[in-house]
Amino acid sequence: MAAAANFPLLIILILFLSSFMMPVLKRVKAVKWLSLSSILLCVVLSVLTLAYVQQNGAFLYKVGHFEAPWGNELKIGYLEAIMSIMFTSIAALITWASFFSADYEIKEKNIMLYYTLCGMLLASLLGILYSNDIFNCFVFIELSSIAACGIVVVKDKKENIKAGVKYLILSSLGSGLVLMGIAFLYSITGNLNIGFIHQELVKVKDLYHNTLIISLGLFTVGLGVKSAMFPVHIWLPDAHTYAPSSSSALLSSLVLKAYILLYIKIIYRVFGIEIVKTLPILEIVLVMGAVGMIFGSILALLQKDLKRMIAYSSVAQIGYIFFGIGLGNILGLMAAIFHIISHALTKSALFLIAGNIIERIHSKEISRLKGIGIEMPITLGVFVVCALSMVGIPLFAGFNSKWNFALAIIDSNRILFIAVLVASSLLNALYYLPIIINAYFGEENTKDRVYMSKEKSLGALLPILILAFAIIYLGISSNGIIDLIAKSVSNL
């Protein structure tokens, strides 16, 4: 099992190598299977990594032959191990789903590029996740923004290019801010390795109070832009709406999450929560999160386009996660991490469903989705599971998230924020349930609809069925995962 320590690096390498091989291959089918098999291999390696971490505890992995401050390091703890399983397995499901939808949404000549970009994207996200070197993280961030932008514009329609440009500009703005934040940290600590920066910061924190505020502020805004924190989310709706559905699923469930995980790393490992608590940043994050929870939902309520609605719902859910981080206590962080997982499952399923629906109905309008519960019963059945999870009905993953948030709020003695939580989950109900109602009920809606007439094949439905199963599993027995999260939080 000692070899398992090499797996994280191996995962990144496998993904990069396989994705760079794809343009060389001649046949689209070969590309598809190479992509899926490499990601599946990474799932296996991630699981083994988690097993290794459970046996030996968190470990630092030296890349190359140089010792820490000079050489690069990966740090793999529980958090990284869990998240890499989540990232790879969701990516595998989305890739599987894209086999059936890519031909419809992407031009034939671009399909190979699409899978190349997906592989690069996943590799760079995992790079952000594993890396213990903050500059390395920056490089991976840039790489991931190019790849993420790539999977938006791969559809090569007018709107896609527009959304892609918007995304690229704001995203490079964000990376610029992050790099500036790194520059400030480097100027006061002289280190880029996260562990060493923290050691130095503890020594000099009183000298450079303002520098710390500026630096953390830059990280907050920079990563906030990239992960669509509320007032700087403006790129997200366009990008998610116009991108191919499998790309939207990747963007919403994984890309945003990687930046948030980096933010968590910066708060808890680079700065350390004690230092962060002396700065006023967390309060702002808390408020922004809360505002996002409400306004994201309200904006979602106003949308007429299915994918745009789901995109705004993402803004609200990202609000939850930042809210949890902003609470600044262990329970809040745990709730945020749990929500990262449950939201990733739900949102990827929702976007894939939206893709299926749009493919069959040929319309994105919510008002056109009447009676599809009869025509696509399985797809809509999974939609119901996701919607109930979003609303927070017990026995679905979303309930556990909400419950954990509620506990965290009470633990931090800010009981009034429970009102925000309640209001937000009600708003979720307001925009998800009407879709279900119109899909299944109502005389006019269900007239002349033929049962199962527009359903996709079972193979195409497999990913969303697995996701639905995972949502219910997380809803019923969240204990194991919560324990793991508790462990990962305690040795961040």
Partner: protein, 120 residues
């Protein structure tokens, strides 16, 4: 004021950063936006390299008389910025490529006009 002058590298880079940031935000022309992005990145490179530079010391290339650890500047930021430049160049290239695409599809590179034309 005096502190600003003594740390003139930092002052300059922050001013450049501001210029780049605003250019990126307020201009409608995509090319100008990309230029702004580059100014912003360059300012950060300047900042970083200034951090590594120690006046009156040599570049860390060891020639005949070895001057000891104290004799050279810090090479790490310079090395990092090489990476940074590569990254910035690739993003710029990508952005320019997209701009060409935009011009093909919309016939303009003014962002406000593009947004007006909307997604029909």
């Amino acid at each position: 004021m005096e502190r600003l002058i003594t740390n003139y590298y930092e002052t300059a880079s922050i001013i450049l950063f501001g210029i780049g940031f605003m250019t990126l935000l307020i201009h409608n022309n995509l090319i100008k936006k990309i230029i702004g992005m580059n100014i912003m990145d360059t300012s950060i490179f300047l900042f970083f390299i200034a951090k590594g530079y120690i006046s009156a010391k040599e570049a860390p290339i060891i020639r005949a008389p070895y001057m000891g650890v104290e004799g050279y500047i810090n090479p790490v930021p310079t090395a990092l910025m090489l990476t940074g430049i590569v990254v910035a160049v690739s993003v710029t290239a990508f952005a320019l490529a997209l701009t060409i695409k935009i011009y093909e599809k919309y016939g303009t590179i003014e962002l406000n006009e593009i947004l007006e034309k909307g997604g029909d």
